[in-house]
């Protein structure tokens, strides 16, 4: 039941309206009713004191893996949506690399319905580019969009066939959705298990060179330029990749791109000792790459922060490095990691952080939210930017615990997550 909620006296930061002031926010049922100073509490309104807290448009993560259907021992749509709400996210985009993959309208409908049933963060389905994620024939893109898909991607795998990628970019223009790509040339990287460099050489692990990612970023930019389609480049991790996107934007290519929290704060050194919780794809790279990803986030070359939340069961990560799967969970650590290590180290300020975690993702994927403008959906995140806490994976709402941030002392934690005027998390 959504009624009236008055968020009193918080620091309201809404980059979509260039707003940063101590204000009250009144939510009435499913929409933002007023944002101003000294709002009188309506009868029956729940009044929440937000002094010392930041009130922002709800955080949106355009890149999460919810594992349902197929790998429900790792995560379900319900646990993933709850994990998102606990991390301060009001909306998440579910990647389609499930088993079976989300490559037809019925499957898209299933994800949307389960997401609604979860009653936590909004869950937006993303459909496959190709049937079965096989990289051969284009999936039912139009019907998937009608069923609720907000983007298409074969994420988990790149689209190796440039002809198929061209077609997808052209066809998706009809529906105004982005084509998201996991940029990786498998011919260069398929046998690799981490970044190719000094650490991989020392550990005796086959590496993935930056060039594997760079080549596909450049290809995708050229194809977006050719077709006028919207390419969304996922989890950019290389310095050349960032620069190529910067130049693409300057040429007017319709491109948006992501930075993942882990690529903003960790290097390939984190893998030393064969730590499978630091195994991910794209891999953690060098300090120079981290600096470039940070600069790209700061100047807007990389539009969004997206977690690439990738749950895995501990049995699967408890293995020799080459046998362990890629990926880490991120929804419940993203806000703290970004506030502590990216805002805290002066890379961006809180205002820019909220743009990259809320306004920009809403714009890139054409989603409701990303703003507290009067009349917009009552999706709101309230967080304490100074709350200190220690990451304890056992306390996660997510079903999985695979994180390299276990034991980290962080500053910044979500306090209240409101979706369509309903409190879905309170901590």
């Amino acid at each position: 039941m959504s009624g009236k909620i008055l968020l009193r006296g918080g620091r309201v930061i809404d980059p979509s309206q260039s707003l940063d002031a101590t204000l009250d926010v009144l939510l009435s049922r499913e929409t933002v009713a007023a944002v101003s100073a000294g709002i009188e509490a309506p009868e029956n309104a729940r009044v929440i004191d937000c002094a010392g807290l930041v009130v922002s448009p709800g955080l949106i993560d355009v890149h999460v893996h919810l594992r349902e259907p197929g790998e429900e021992h790792e995560e379900t749509i319900a646990t993933g949506a709850a994990s998102a709400a606990a991390g301060g996210f009001t909306a998440i985009c579910a990647m389609p690399n499930t088993d079976p993959p989300i490559d037809d309208p019925a499957a898209v409908g299933f994800v949307a319905a389960e997401g609604r049933r979860a009653g936590a963060a909004r869950v937006y389905p993303v459909g496959c580019i190709s049937v079965g994620r096989a990289g051969k024939r284009m999936a039912l893109v139009g019907e998937m969009v009608q069923a609720g898909a907000v983007a298409i991607t074969d994420d988990g795998s790149p689209v190796m066939d440039s002809g198929l990628m061209r077609m997808a970019l052209e066809y998706a223009r009809a529906f105004g959705i982005p084509v998201a790509d996991h940029p990786e040339d498998l011919g260069l990287s398929a046998n690799g298990h981490m970044n190719e460099g000094l650490v991989s050489t020392r550990l005796g692990l086959p590496g993935k060179p930056n060039a594997a990612e760079d080549i596909h970023i450049v290809r995708d930019l050229l194809l977006a330029e050719l077709t006028g389609g919207h390419i969304h480049l996922q989890h950019v991790s290389t310095r050349f990749g960032v620069e190529a996107i910067r130049q693409g934007k300057a040429r007017g290519v319709h491109v948006t791109a992501e930075a993942s929290p882990h690529h903003l704060v960790l290097t390939h050194e984190a893998v030393d000792g064969y730590r499978t919780e630091a195994k991910m794809n794209p891999p953690l790279r060098t300090a120079a790459d981290v600096e470039a990803v940070r600069a790209g986030l700061a100047d807007g070359t990389l539009d969004t922060i997206a977690t690439d939340h990738a749950p895995h069961h501990y049995d699967e990560k408890e293995a020799a490095f080459a046998e362990a799967p890629n990926g880490i969970v991120g929804l419940e650590t993203a806000l703290g990691v970004i506030v502590t290590r990216v805002v805290g180290e002066g890379v961006i300020d809180l205002v820019t952080m909220i743009d990259r975690m809320s306004c920009a993702p809403a714009r890139a994927f054409g989603l409701p939210g990303g703003t507290l403008a009067v009349g917009s959906p009552a999706d709101v995140t309230v967080f304490d930017p100074t709350a200190r806490w220690t990451v304890d994976p056992k306390a996660f709402r997510s079903k999985s615990r695979n994180t390299p941030f276990s034991g980290w002392e962080l500053e910044g934690r979500s306090r209240l997550t409101i979706v369509e005027g309903r409190v879905v998390f309170e901590g």
Partner: protein, 323 residues
């Protein structure tokens, strides 16, 4: 006997973080243990009552037999497990295999595994000592040690020598263990081979890179020639074995062109006529069979030191004491 006071710590996973003093302790202990294998009755009670499991997930003849001789000559009780026919092929995970062995109260595991990091993985999870007998392309520390001992035997020192490792560095655990051990003991180290088989980050390890074998031979005092696996040709790293021999093969003609004698090592098994010609392998500068002999002594030393034996007690231990 408390492993925490053992000179090497609990495990031997690799040579990368080993100090010069630790390496010398192993080599000196091995020196003392060489003589056991020359006796009529090749057995001393140093590891009497110790249980050692030889856990081989990859085929190995030389290394497994060398470890087994070392264990038996020190009177340990040993069990051999190889991947075929064991629960390993039935899908049991490495960690479960380890826990089950541990539950049977063993003292040491000697493991060969195809995955880089497997030895560290096991060492972090069981209280028994773990000896890495080769993990993927990461390290093969006892091979590195026996190479060091063989070089020291024949040149009287390691410090200041120029040692070049020839062949497939990328996929070689022997190369990595050699590089770390040689650098720690003060040698200059180089590698030589086709650029497709040399890691791009080699120089960051403090190692020189040669792509011409003639240059490497001119520079080096010692060549350690690695086996070229047939599958490297099949996966296209080199176009043919014949071409490899013609361009990177260690031949008498190339050695004679140098103005100094080189010591020739090879960890075996050799592909005669590919990375090394028979007349070099069997020639006067080859110490390949000395390496094999030293392998047993080095492995005895490692087992003794991991069991808590002290290097200075090795002589006494040989005469009937226990570690």
């Amino acid at each position: 006997m408390n492993p925490t006071t053992a000179p090497l710590g609990k495990d031997l996973v690799g040579l990368e973080n080993m100090s010069a003093a630790q390496l010398k302790a192993i080599l000196d202990t091995a020196e003392a243990f060489k003589e056991i294998s020359e006796r009529r009755i090749k057995k001393v009670p140093v590891l009497r009552g110790k249980t050692i499991v030889n856990l081989f997930f990859e085929a190995s003849t030389r290394t497994r037999i060398s470890f087994e001789f070392a264990e038996k000559r020190l009177s340990a009780d040993t069990v051999n497990i190889s991947s075929s026919g064991s629960s390993v092929v039935k899908g049991e995970t490495l960690v479960d295999t380890a826990r089950n062995l541990e539950a049977m109260r063993i003292d040491m595991v000697v493991m060969r595994h195809g995955a880089s990091g497997a030895a560290q993985f096991l060492a972090d999870r069981i209280p028994s000592s773990v000896v890495n007998a080769g993990d993927g392309r990461h390290e093969h520390p006892t091979q590195g040690l026996l190479d060091l001992l063989t070089i020291r035997d024949h040149r009287g020192r390691i410090d200041g020598l120029k040692v070049c490792i020839v062949g497939d560095i990328t996929h070689s655990r022997v190369a990595r263990s050699n590089i770390y051990g040689l650098l720690a003991l003060g040698a200059e180290v180089a590698v030589c081979g086709p650029p497709t088989l040399l890691p791009l980050a080699t120089e960051e390890l403090g190692v020189q890179v040669f792509t011409h074998i003639e240059d490497a031979i001119r520079w080096a005092d010692v060549l350690n020639v690695l086996r070229l696996q047939l599958e490297r040709m099949e996966s296209g790293y080199v176009p043919s074995l014949r071409e490899y021999n013609r361009i990177w093969g260690v031949t008498n003609a190339r050695l004679e062109a140098a103005d100094h004698d080189l010591l020739i090592l090879h960890p075996g098994p050799m592909n005669r006529g590919v990375e090394i010609d028979s007349d070099v392998a069997d020639g006067e500068h080859s110490v390949i069979l000395n390496q094999v002999t030293n392998g047993v002594a080095v492995r005895m030393a490692v087992l003794y030191l991991l069991a808590g034996g002290q290097p200075e007690s090795a002589e006494a231990a040989k005469q009937g004491g226990e570690a």
